[in-house]
Every structure is written in structure tokens, then in C-alpha cells.
Symmetry: C2
Subunit: 131 residues, 2 copies
């Protein structure tokens, strides 16, 4: 099992990269908030699952890497901030989305996942190339 | 004086909010890297000073708030990640730029400041309103 808030977030990101959305959704609380800052907020494990299953359906590669991660507190009440390169392949093109994530942990579950990134960089990666 | 990497970054952000660019530039290393992720990288204390003096000249209010900050290591070698609301007023309009920052500290100086944010949100805040 996960020992620290940082371990929990590392496991969560690993499950997402493995496209195990059921496993990832099991690590978040019922009142979980998923905030893609420039694009909006969804709430709850189901919304997490549905948002990412739609996105992952576009991706032929999902390879997210944690570059730096710092945490404080414990599994009862902790905070984790990380810096990531979220590498994906969509429409046959590789792209890297540079991201900084903020996570809150309460009672052993992730209650907040907030990602800071540039919307235009993501939209460009998702736009089909001109034939 | 600053005791931890987090204290150093808090002091740095405080100096910037006070528009004390000489004071802020004195806290960074000669090889300091300033990376505004969706907009590019500059290097050195002088580039920090010049980049922000140009930006601050547009601002009638600079009110940056650290919402969360987590750090590890010490002043010899430390890492700090934070989440901020960078509130500004430009062209008579208030705006909030949600930002996540990554900082590296070496030998008591800040060697890296990397900010993750949405470029379009910043550009919208800097664009003059239609008369």
C-alpha cells in the first residue's frame, strides 16, 4: 500500500499511464475535484473516469513522467505538488504537454487534482494534421 | 535571512510583488534560468530584471499570492514547488493568472524559476479593452 501522499500520487499517475482508469478512480474520494485549470472542473470518480477515457481513446501512446515531486503531511492530510512531462501520441504525432500538478490527500484518498498547463499546447496536440 | 528553500522563494515572490527587482535579482544565481513555459526561457539576473520591469510597467497592481508551497532539501540544494494566484491590474482591469511554479535552489541562490500557466489567459489580461 501507499505510505506517503507522494507515494499515493505516484501510484495514481502510474495507473493513469497504464490506462487503468478503474484503478485510478478507486484512489479518489467521492467529492474528488479534477481541475484542468484553463479548461474547467469536474467532480467525482465517475467524471474522472469519463473525462480521461474520452481523452485516452484519442491517444495511441500515454507516457506521463513525473520530473519533480514534493509532498508534505501524511495520508490523513497531505499535499503533493509535481512537475510532469505528459507525453502522448495522437493522430500519429508525438507531443509533450508540460504540466504542473497540485494534489490534496484526505483520509487516504486523493480529493483534489489540479493541473496547470497551456491550453493551446494541448489543443495543438489534439488537432488532426492537415492532410 | 532565509532559513529554508521555501523561505527563500517566499521572500523572492514578496520582493517581486513589491516591485523590488534589484532585490529579487540579488537572490538568483548568475546561471539562473527563468522559464515561462509557454513563452520561453531567459537566463541570468539581468534578463529577469528586464523581463519583469517591462511587464510591471504595464501593471497598475501586482498582487501575487502563494496558495500552496512545498519544499525539500536545504539552501545548499533544494526544490520548491508552489501554486499561486498572480493578480494584476492592466489597462484598468483586474485579472488573476493561475500559476504553478518550480524553483531550484543551489548554494543559497535560486537557479531555476519555471512557471506553468495558460498563455491565452495572460495574453487576454494584457490586451487593451475595446473602447
Amino acid at each position: 500500500m501507499s505510505d506517503t501522499p507522494g507515494d499515493l500520487v505516484t501510484r495514481f499517475i502510474g495507473l493513469l499511464t497504464a490506462r487503468d482508469l478503474d484503478g485510478a478512480a478507486a484512489l479518489v474520494s467521492e467529492d474528488f475535484e479534477y481541475d484542468n485549470v484553463p479548461m474547467g472542473v469536474t467532480r467525482g470518480p465517475r467524471a474522472l473516469h469519463d473525462t480521461l477515457s474520452g481523452f485516452f481513446a484519442l491517444c495511441t501512446v500515454v507516457d506521463w513522467e513525473i520530473l519533480r515531486q514534493v509532498s508534505t503531511g501524511d495520508l490523513a492530510r497531505g499535499t503533493v505538488l509535481n512537475e510532469r512531462d505528459d507525453r502522448i501520441e495522437i493522430h500519429g504525432r508525438r507531443a509533450t504537454l508540460p504540466v504542473a500538478g497540485v494534489f490534496e490527500v484526505r483520509g487516504g484518498r486523493i480529493t483534489l487534482w489540479r493541473d496547470y498547463f497551456d491550453k493551446e499546447t494541448l489543443v495543438a496536440a489534439m488537432t488532426p494534421p492537415v492532410p
